[in-house]
């Protein structure tokens, strides 16, 4: 069950199809697959749906909006509540050119987890009595109300880890974990950008954050530093 090793991020994303739903790991600057995102920009696929924690000023994901590659974003942070500057995505969303599904962070991760784990949905209190509950089923169970949130999956997941071995096992660094391990379970094609590809066995078994069976492609890249600007 070796992962296929690609020599450039461009080669790793070249066959992603127009119209795909793409899960993008990372949280602001931590654990973000910057090289894969920029490769997707160069590759030029269109009509993509991106699922990510954040898309905003300074986020590389926003670069995909330069050539209008994103028709929809599912995220927790996308619209700034203050300030005068806005991201390319926000401008396109406000112009009605791109769609936004704003999701509470805990709900986003649990929907992805359900999608990856073969579960039919999640029952949560988060969002009850708010705009997030509009059009969704509320279940009354033993006198308590629960909002039903449905699973979420991607055609492709783009992940970032510290090290990956040839079997696809991934080891994360510090707060670089975030959405990556769950997204690894919830897409048909999982592509991971790592700082170093090592031989199987070099990552200790108890240091593996994502077992290799989830990972299809690996590419070794120098990380691109990102600093968030909201």
């Amino acid at each position: 069950m070796n992962a296929e090793v690609f020599f450039t991020p461009d080669a790793a994303v070249a066959d992603i199809e127009d119209g795909s739903t793409i899960l993008v790991g990372g949280f602001v600057s931590a654990g973000t697959p910057s090289n894969l995102i920029l490769a997707l920009k160069r590759s030029g696929q269109t009509n993509l749906t991106a699922v990510a924690n954040n898309i905003g000023l300074g986020d590389l994901l926003d670069e995909l909006c330069e050539d209008r590659q994103l028709s929809k974003v599912i995220a927790t942070f996308a619209i700034r509540a203050s300030g005068t500057r806005s991201s390319r995505f926000e401008a396109q969303y406000r112009a009605g050119e791109a769609e936004l599904e704003l999701v509470p962070q805990g709900t986003l991760i649990e929907r992805l987890r359900a999608g990856g784990a073969g579960l039919g949905g999640v029952l949560t209190r988060t969002g009850l009595g708010t705009m997030m509950a509009e059009g969704k089923q509320v279940l009354e169970l033993d006198g308590e109300s629960w909002l039903l949130e449905r699973p979420l999956r991607g055609d492709v997941a783009l992940l970032k880890a510290w090290r990956g071995d040839r079997q696809g096992n991934l080891q994360y660094r510090q707060a670089g974990l975030n959405f990556n391990p769950v997204m690894a379970t919830a897409a048909d094609l999982v592509i991971a950008e790592v700082e170093e590809i090592v031989e199987a066995g070099e990552i200790p078994p108890d240091g593996v954050g994502t077992p290799g069976l989830y990972v299809d492609r690996l590419v070794q890249c120098e990380p691109i530093p990102v600093r968030w600007d909201g």
Partner: protein
């Protein structure tokens, strides 16, 4: 990075409509004093991030960040490390015993009732403790992040905010007209004018800011406020 409350002064806001009031730093300082020693606390983006600068190391308070850190002490002055940030993207320093985990674990902590307290910003709080803090109608948008999860899941929810808007409109209202973050979730409101408890019987004034009268707090509050209990002056 530790803030020095003595150097911050007070009475820095003076406009024609809004009352003269405590600085953001002093609101954060007062909110920090609501935190019990040894507790696990999540801080929202904006004013609440300042709270980390006002806790005593001896109190052993551990901050949790949605992006997967338990046990940071505050904002770091050292070199920026892209993988060592809080949920606001700020670099943080770790305490001994800190841990990293993924987002699913992080929200199991938050939704599962394992976070002792959250300090969040607010746009409006209602008389029954409803919170609106993510969508700004005047701007036609906002982002939700982890606010809805924290509002529902934290055992104690402290809102740290300005008592009124820049235009002088009360933020504490009978019923929120901004889109809600969660219903009946707020326990304590700390503002530049007062500390107010949300009780089963409604809002109860606990403290006033130095130089601010009970009547002034009532006048700037858009909901019924019980002032019959012992009301103290904030000690800052």
């Amino acid at each position: 990075m530790r803030a020095d409350p003595g150097a911050l002064g007070r009475l820095i806001v003076a406009s024609s409509t809004a009352p003269v009031s405590l600085s953001r730093e002093l609101i954060a300082l007062r909110a920090a004093r609501e935190l019990a020693p040894g507790s696990v606390v999540n801080l929202g983006i904006g004013l609440p991030t300042l709270v980390a600068g006002f806790v005593e190391a001896a109190d052993g308070i551990r901050f949790q960040a949605e992006n997967g850190i338990l046990g940071y002490s505050g904002i770091s002055d050292s070199d920026f490390d892209a993988d060592l940030i809080n949920a606001g993207g700020q670099p943080v320093d770790l305490l001994a015993g800190a841990s990293f985990f993924d987002t699913a674990d992080s929200f199991a902590m938050i939704r599962g009732g394992h976070i002792d307290a959250a300090v969040l910003g607010g746009l409006q709080v209602s008389a029954r403790g409803d919170l609106a803090n993510w969508y700004v109608p005047a701007r036609g948008g906002g982002s939700v992040g982890g606010a809805m999860d924290l509002a529902v899941g934290a055992r104690t929810l402290i809102i740290a905010m300005a008592h009124v808007t820049r235009e002088g409109e009360p933020r504490i209202v009978e019923v929120c007209d901004y889109p809600l973050t969660a219903e009946r979730c707020v326990d304590v409101i700390v503002t530049d004018l007062a500390v107010i408890d949300v009780t089963a019987r409604g809002l109860s004034l606990r403290e006033t800011a130095p130089g601010v009268s009970v009547e002034e707090v009532g006048a700037w509050t858009g909901a019924a406020l019980d002032t019959s209990g012992p009301v103290r002056e904030m000690s800052l």
